[in-house]
């Protein structure tokens, strides 16, 4: 049995308290202090120690243990600015040859749902960053929040990717197993790896939950679950946020001990092999085609887009944001473009989600705002200022207009 471990690394640029009277006055949109502070905290608690564990595992198990990372462009940029040791630590991992870096949108954005041109531009930017930092040419793609649809598959295929990661959403798979390789119904050359959400979330969400009847989760128990997967299956895709280790699940819960122990058990006791998405996709033959007319994602019960888009706040902010695309493109100002991209990060829209009013403790946990309304007002204040700047620059860029 193959195990495919992929970890998502992402840190948004959080907005500062930006009041309406700041509109037109200054463009200090982001809370540099909070962003630095949080990044250093997470580096200390998660990225650095977790990388150490993985490095030890790679050294110990050699070819049998490989992992994949997707690190958003904004995380990379903040590492460089605030905590360069994290980059060095990932470079050490890259040098082992056992780590695959995936391509994604540079801004960890939802742009695939809106603009093909900007989508491709952001992926190209991210490819370049991975090449520059880790010397790898990306071969597998993962879209923000594992969002996937036929339409997105076509764009990803056009960019030359042959492998893509997404969610093993029940409503797409029906009776079929997520533990197989699939391919796209519209571009058959694009192979799909699907997240096994039960086994992934056992670690990512449930590991420290004392009300869970399986608590505490030991490496032995977990590997026995991996072994229960049907022998007809080919690969178990364990996809999760890297911040699971030490940040979402604190060190005190034993999460690092678990990470140290379970791969060894799986390899030595159960004869499993840990492979990267690129390798798995090359080795296996696709089982069948998947037709996904409406976008799916890895969020919430619904596995749809409603964590980021769909309510009036989110939709309006999203529309207004991308209304600026043409002008920003024409003005072609580096700083303006960069700022616009920082505002595209999916987190901003997640904060405006109203679903957690009824459910979703998870949403609340990740939300720095008191309410989605506060999040919306802050975001719109910033966006109003950016629009003003675009208008002004547009005026000077095309005189007479």
């Amino acid at each position: 049995m193959n195990i495919c471990l992929y970890f998502q690394v992402h840190q948004p640029y959080r907005l500062a308290t930006y009041r309406f009277f700041d509109i037109g006055d200054h463009d200090q949109y982001f809370d540099a202090y909070a962003n630095r502070f949080i990044l250093q905290q997470v580096a200390e608690k998660c990225y650095l120690p977790a990388n150490e564990v993985l490095l030890e595992l790679i050294e110990r198990y050699g070819d049998d243990f490989k992992v994949a990372f997707s690190i958003s462009g904004m995380a990379l940029e903040q590492f460089k600015a605030y905590e360069p040791k994290v980059i060095e630590s990932f470079q050490k991992l890259a040098n082992t040859g056992s780590v695959e870096f995936l391509a994604e949108t540079w801004a960890h954005s939802l742009v695939s749902l809106k603009s093909k041109k900007e989508f491709k531009a952001q992926v190209a930017l991210h490819e370049q960053a991975i090449w520059d930092l880790f010397g790898q040419k990306t071969v597998s793609f993962r879209n923000t929040e594992l969002i996937y649809s036929n339409k997105i598959a076509q764009m990803v295929d056009e960019m030359g990717y042959t492998t893509m990661l997404t969610e093993g959403a029940k409503h797409i798979l029906g009776w079929r197993s997520p533990n197989k390789l699939y391919n796209s119904a519209v571009v058959p050359g694009l192979r799909l790896l699907l997240k096994n959400f039960r086994l992934s979330d056992d670690i990512a969400f449930r590991f420290s939950n004392r009300e869970w009847n399986e608590w505490p989760l030991t490496a032995e128990k977990y590997v026995s679950w991996l072994q229960q997967v049907s022998s007809d299956d080919d690969v178990i895709n364990l996809f999760m946020d890297y911040e699971t280790f030490g940040e979402h699940q604190w060190k005190e819960t034993g999460i690092f001990d678990f990470l140290k122990a379970f791969p060894g058990l799986a390899i030595e006791e159960a004869g499993m092999r840990f492979k990267t998405p690129g390798i798995v996709a090359a080795e296996l033959k696709p089982e069948t085609e998947l037709d996904v007319p409406y976008p799916i994602s890895w969020a919430d019960e619904e596995r749809d887009l409603t964590a980021w888009l769909g309510n009036e706040l989110q939709d309006e902010a999203f529309e207004k944001l991308y209304q600026l695309e043409e002008d920003i493109d024409r003005i072609a100002d580096e700083k303006l473009l960069h700022t616009w991209r920082l505002l595209q990060t999916s987190d901003h829209f997640y904060y405006m989600c109203t679903k957690w009013f009824s459910d979703g403790d998870v949403h609340k946990y990740f939300n720095p705002y008191n309410s989605p309304y506060d999040a919306y007002i802050h975001y719109m204040n910033v966006l109003s200022d950016l629009s003003l700047r675009v208008q002004n620059m547009n005026g000077s860029a095309t005189p007479g207009k």
Binding site: F20, F21, L313, E316
Partner: protein, 428 residues
Amino acid sequence: MQVLMFGWEFPPHISGGLGTACYGLTKAMLRAEMDLLFVVPKLHGDEPGEGMELINASGVEMHPDDEVFQSADGKISLFEIDSTLLPYATEEEYLKLANELAKVQQVKKLQWDAKTYSFSGGYGKSLMEEVKRYAIVASKIAKTHDFDIIHAHDWLTYLAGIEARKISGKPLVVHMHATEFDRSGQHVNPAVFEIEQTGMQAADKVVAVSHLTRDTVIKKYGIDPDKVITVHNGVDPPAEKSPVDTTKHFPERIVTFLGRVTYQKGPEYFIEAAHKVLQRDDNVRFVMAGSGDMLPRMIRRVAELGMGTRFHFTGFLRGADVDRMYGMSDAYVMPSVSEPFGISPLEAMRSNVPVIISKQSGVAEVLKHALKVDYWDVDGMADAIYGTLNYPGLRSMFKKHGKNEVEGIKWDQAAHKLKKIYHHMLHE
């Protein structure tokens, strides 16, 4: 389950939120199949009892040989009432009584001409006397009725509750609708504070209308947290009203403050926030509707800030004018410094007006579809006003969810929670 309940006012003769709250709560309690004996100082005869027994304290006859003058421990429970006003018996009767009750030390010149005392039921000069006298009548009522539990609403009725408890030995619940700190800020009336504290100490359980009030009760009155329980208020569906004319004669949007212009309601923060908004957005007018001791100062401040042509005072509004004001508003602000619950934002939301409320209000604990700011955070308040007026996403969200949310805040939830509390007390 029979509940002996002491209130101070009852619709339609109300002057504050207390009467409305008691009415909403008691109706829901009847729906939850509890039996009620509801005592008020004065009944006018037109109160809608709707299935509960209303007791008029003004109609309770007192006799000097009533055992109620003696409480269970044999001590006299008479309070220090200005004796010239003592209404219970003739002079001879009182002297006789006084001789029997050796612990009454001082008997002054007394006027004995009535066997009942006619309470005003208001909040006038003799309020403290009425409160104390109400307690004496309460003990008589407790002696002559059957009930399982006693429930007293706000400090005005706490002494009545305590007396009823002494006489009957039944458990007492006191209900904090507002504390003296809410009403008076730091300048508390020590006499009122003392009655509140005594009432809560004597009570078996204290019900607070919000977590905010519960906190005050625990921190400022030193009440044992274990016996203080939050039961959020509900709202009654509005009475059928004829539609009002809400035509505006100017194009600007309207942001409204509606309430008493007093320290508790935080009117000055509204003015400072308005000033900030006006510096950027000239398509808006502000209205302060209401009156109160701080009004003159507020008018001066508006003039001082030079925004008199954009900031308007309407004075006290009633009836249809209130509905008209809501109908014209594009945002409603309740910047209260301290608001145990606060029902007015709910009325605004019912009229589809987006609301901005202070975090120092109990209603903020139950509302999701509202913007919440600290009352002192004038920048945050200004920002919330500006966002509400200028970002359409907020308006459509509030329109979609606000009304529904208000309709979901029911007195029945409060009544059920209360029933559970009673049950627990009786079977402890």
